[in-house]
Each structure stands twice: as structure tokens, then as C-alpha cells.
Assembly symmetry: C2
Homo-oligomer: 161 residues x 2
DNA sequence: ATCACTGATTGCAAATCGCAAGCAGATTGC
DNA sequence: GCAATCTGCTTGCGATTTGCAATCAGTGAT
């Protein structure tokens, strides 16, 4: 029933939370693609996730505290949101993306987000995390002068098409 | 035969390379535990990996270019070494460890390495990567004044027992 | 009433997992 | 010389997980 951790190692804890071939990709699509609903995630997945796997991963991620599910009643779209814990994965995504960028073959179109995060560094990550807290946790939006990180990500993505 | 990538996304590339429940832990033990031989990895694993899984993961990691295997002849211990690609996972390990540290229950003993990496920041990571290149890639050791990162890791680990 | 859309569930074959045992070649101890 | 031990695995096997396709009940719009 209750699953126990294999060890008390922080790396192992992270692996147990999202160390499989789909969890991180689902989180990526919620975080960077702003896909909040089941069918959006299903159809928008670059890698073609199957619906039963998606359903299972969403449940697991909710149980693990990496997503919350806002139910809007039967027959109405439920929305998935990031939590503080998953928002804090931004630096992990940034480092993973930079590694993939440098050590694996990637396509220009799908590379732009990792490139922007790598170039921006920790300061940009913090800015992005603050924006995610506004969208997903309902924090009040602060004043801003320039374009948001989300806007810059969208622009870079559009420019690479 | 040849497996093709599910997509050209850098995050997906990283997930395909080591996104399962054991690969990253094997790399962790080689990197931080300096376990270079099959039976060392088997016996020293905190999480208790099975021998067939270890054999499979070592093969996969070699094929993926994250480990090299130096065969010492039949009946003699083969040694596994990190490659430049896996040495560059140090920042990924640091961020994953820091995340696990903050968002999952961990034990004091197994926490110390992640704590030291998190506290040291990118500068310490670079220093550690340079030391790994000396041990695993045979680069010449530079002059040094203070204790190495490896020594500091070992000392912190010993102090937490 | 018909159609599309909601978030899934079910059936099934194939692959993978994890445990235990076994194996051939080489070294060590006596 | 001979057994015990160590080397890096491999094999068998039952249980679980995966991935694909089809399906489903509930809601809303026409």
C-alpha cells in the first residue's frame, strides 16, 4: 500500500518522484506549454503520450504534490496547476535542458526554450518562477517594465518556426 | 534496431538517456562514491539494485556515452569511468539534490553531499568537475592549495556518521 | 436527437522488473 | 594441487508495467 522510499538520499528522492520516462515531460508541458487540461496535454505532447499513461501520471504527480487538480464538476474540464514544489523544478529543467542541448542531438525549434533558460541563468529562473507563482498559485502580479519571461519564451519559440 | 528519439527536445533527450529509476543512481555512485567496479556498485548501492538490472544499466550507459568500460581481461575487474558528458551532469545532480533536500524527507547522513554542493554553488561544481576529469579522464592534476572537493565531500560524509 | 467534447477506463500483447540461482575464468591460500 | 573465493555477469521465472486501440458515461450545443 504505502510505498516506502528506497533510501533517504535526496537524489533518490527526486528519482522516485519523477524519474520515469513521462512524468518530467508532463510537467514540462504544464510549465512551459501552459497546457492545463487532460486533452491539451494528450494532443499537444511532442512525444505522443498514451491516454492511460497520462491519466496515471497525472494522478501520481497530484499524489506526490507536484500538481494540483481543480475539478470543475463532471463533464467539465479539470485544470491542473503547478505547486511550489514543481515550480522549484525550474533550475532542474534549466540544467537538464542545457545538458541535453550540449550532449544530445536536438532540433532547432525545440531547443529555443532550453537556450533561453541557459543564457538567462539563475536570475532569469527566479523571474520565471515568480511568474509561474502568479499563474499557478494565484499570487498577485508585481509591477513590471519589460516583457515577461513567458512572453520572451513564446516569442523565441515563434521565431524558430 | 536503432532506437529513434521520441522528439528533438533537450529535456526529452535527457530523460531518454537516464530517465529511469536506476541509471542516475548508478552514475551517482560512480561519481560521488567512486565505485568503479561491478561488485562495488552492486554491494554499495544504498537502494539495493539487482545484479541483472545493474548489468543492463551499465551496458546502456556505456552505449549512451555516459560511461566507458575498461576491460582488464577475463576474470579481472573491469573498471567503469565517467565521460565528459556524464561529468557535465554535476550541475544536474546539484540541482536535483537541492530539490530533494528541500521538498522530500531525507536522512542526515545521505544529505551532506547535496548540502555541500548546494552551498558551494557553480564555482564548487566546476572545481569538482575538474577533479573528476583528473580521476576519470586522466587529465593532469593542477596545483592546489586547500583540500579538494572530493576530500571535503568525504570529510562531510564521515562527520555525519 | 445528434453530435462533439469532457476525462478518463478497459483489454490485451509485449516488454520490463526484481529476485534468486548459476556460471566460467582467474586468483588466493595452504 | 586443489578447494575456496572472487570476477562480471547470465538465466529462469513470476509479477508488474508499458503502449496501443477501442470504448465509455456525463455534459453541452445545435
Amino acid at each position: 500500500m504505502g510505498e516506502s522510499a528506497r533510501s533517504g538520499c535526496p537524489i533518490n528522492a527526486a528519482v522516485e518522484a519523477f524519474g520515469d520516462s513521462w512524468s518530467l515531460l508532463v510537467l514540462r508541458d504544464v510549465m512551459f506549454g501552459d497546457r492545463r487540461h487532460f486533452r491539451e496535454l494528450l494532443a499537444g505532447s511532442e512525444e505522443g503520450i498514451a491516454s492511460n499513461i497520462l491519466a496515471d501520471r497525472l494522478k501520481r504527480l497530484v499524489k506526490a504534490g507536484l500538481l494540483t487538480r481543480e475539478d470543475a464538476g463532471p463533464g467539465r474540464r479539470a485544470a491542473y496547476s503547478l505547486t511550489e514544489a514543481s515550480i522549484r523544478l525550474v533550475p532542474v529543467f534549466a540544467q537538464l535542458g542545457e545538458w541535453g542541448l550540449r550532449h544530445r542531438p536536438t532540433t532547432r525549434r525545440l531547443r529555443v526554450r532550453a537556450e533561453l533558460l541557459a543564457a538567462g541563468g539563475p536570475q532569469l529562473w527566479e523571474e520565471f518562477m515568480a511568474e509561474l507563482r502568479v499563474v499557478h498559485l494565484g499570487e498577485p502580479a508585481p509591477e513590471r517594465d519589460g516583457p515577461s519571461v513567458m512572453e520572451r519564451l513564446a516569442a523565441a519559440y515563434a521565431a524558430a518556426l
